[in-house]
Symmetry: C2
Subunit: 329 residues, 2 copies
């Protein structure tokens, strides 16, 4: 089986967007849930994620609400809660219609300056009532101004306690940027992955939470390309080697959209820490004129690597995901 | 000749630091220049940058004040101006003592919220009076909150006009971070490189300034590792191919501290856009236990690449630097 650990519902029916627009326009008014029937849900994925699964030969997507639409910097704690619930409920319905193809990961009701303890109830609801297997954790709810504490601060501990208890990992994933310096998918996303890794490298977080697991999306931002820099920084700081310090808890996905990048990733990061992912339908939708295939058809790059054993491939495509997301089974 | 395009004066005598401490403690009082004699300057580089040049077989370093000490977020426009002058004067003295080994690049007197037009006089002084050949441009004078406009905004144009007139490039290089989310050398530096590239990708800056040249340090942050993503994003946005859009103006240094990273860099970025650099003595000072050599001895990685021709090597080690920094000759 081939499990894609990183897919967002980027093709949700327009009614979801209209709900959000109305909600943000009148944050204090009650607004009815978006009315979307099952047929619309089917149509929204059958020509997109499901079609691409079939074409590319993948089987199951770990599926979450659209990352750029989380926009935790908009509205307030109450609008964020309702917005997370509505988005997560929709993911749940898609997963119920296609239980073999999709398994849910939830959006959290974060807001800048609001304690992550506020996310615990929605995480618990999604995991225990909706059967979700993880969450997306936004390390910068301000949307590009980075005003909340680092992920390693005790500020985040109530959420981590619940994650450990429920045995669910988080993908560390920012949302859209309201800072004109940061293009969302071309800068803010990758910067957040890099930033989170360095926060973890300089902390004792995994001493406090030995079973907590994080997935760094987009191939870990700049981290594998600068693996020597990180090994050297850790050594200069008298930290343990990275494998010992972080690699029982931190995993990298394969959303890197060219062969040379995937080659690097699999050369420097141990195979046991790499999870197959494509983020389709996502940030890059076109066909690479150099290969004739979609940039985000990342399975092709992994298939092209000559140095992986069959066991390595099974780890990257399936077994590592089952290890990081134990509730999948 | 082997030219290292990225070296900071990280070993300046302690008197410089004391000057800065006094300056920031009493920003409105007149403070005399730090008293440092030539013997102290010699000692500060002979056991460090000069020794490493000899050991590693490099010849000349494009030398600038310590990046992390620029700290444009501290003090005010007046303290930033004086601090830049003092730091640049010291670089000039080192370059006069060792004219074969060092050539100067200046720190700019930036301050958050202050027009970059304020930097023009110091740039002109350094280039026309001190013989400097470039500048370091901080894309985030706020030190990690990114409150100034993107580099592609007309806000920065007065500086770019002077750079074009003087025929000097800028290395885009942030300073220290006062945002607890961002470790300076492990996150903020790389994020800034990535951020700047995406700003340039989405702009028409080089239509307005066709001869403006930028060097992205630290191997371009996350950019080469995600070269497929950037090619795909540009294509989705109907932008020209990256080579046409950016590669007449944007260059990458080789401050990537492991062989696999340098391999990637030289596979995806055209040789004509790569400038040798090590940033010694800099962010990572230790010896890599996997190789027995300094992490930042980047010449070894380039020497190890089998696919480069002699001409490629000469471009990376020397000719590209002469092209980007035409005032060197």
């Amino acid at each position: 089986m081939i499990i894609d650990c990183h897919g967002h519902y980027t093709t949700a029916p327009r009614a979801l967007e209209i709900f959000r627009e109305r909600q943000l326009a009148s944050p204090d008014d009650p607004i009815s849930d978006p009315s979307i029937d099952d047929e619309e849900l089917r149509r929204s994925v059958e020509g997109a994620q499901l079609k691409l699964q079939k074409e590319r030969g993948t089987d199951r997507t770990i599926f979450s609400p659209r990352a750029s639409s989380m926009a935790h910097h908009l509205g307030n704690a109450a609008t964020s809660r309702r917005w997370a619930q509505v988005c997560n409920d929709l993911i749940h319905r898609v997963c119920q219609i296609y239980p073999d193809n999709f398994v849910g990961v939830c959006q959290l009701p974060q807001s800048p300056g609001i304690s992550p303890a506020n996310c615990v109830a929605e995480l618990e609801r999604c995991v225990t009532e909706l059967g979700f297997i993880g969450c997306n954790l936004n390390p910068d709810p301000s949307g590009g101004y980075w005003t909340d504490p680092p992920l390693t601060d005790r500020w985040w501990y109530p959420l981590y306690e619940k994650m450990e208890e429920l045995k669910v990992p988080a993908m560390i994933h920012v949302s859209s940027s309201c800072n004109p310096n940061f293009h969302a998918t071309g800068a803010h996303y990758l910067n957040a992955d890099t930033t989170a890794f360095m926060q973890l490298l300089t902390s004792e977080l995994f001493r406090d939470f030995p079973t907590l697991k994080f997935v760094l999306p987009h191939g870990g931002g700049a981290v594998p390309y600068h693996w020597g820099r990180y090994r050297g920084l850790a050594q200069d700081m008298k930290r343990p080697p990275l494998a010992e310090l972080l690699l029982n808890n931190v995993y990298f996905d394969t959303c890197v959209y060219h062969l040379a990048g995937i080659e690097l990733l699999t050369k420097v990061i141990p195979v046991g820490n790499i999870l197959f992912a494509s983020e389709m339908v996502g940030a890059v939708r076109g066909i690479d004129p150099e290969t004739g295939h979609h940039f985000d058809d990342t399975k092709r790059y992994i298939d092209a690597l000559t140095w992986l054993s069959d066991e390595d491939r099974k780890n990257i495509f399936e077994d590592n995901a089952r290890k990081v997301y134990p509730r999948m089974d």
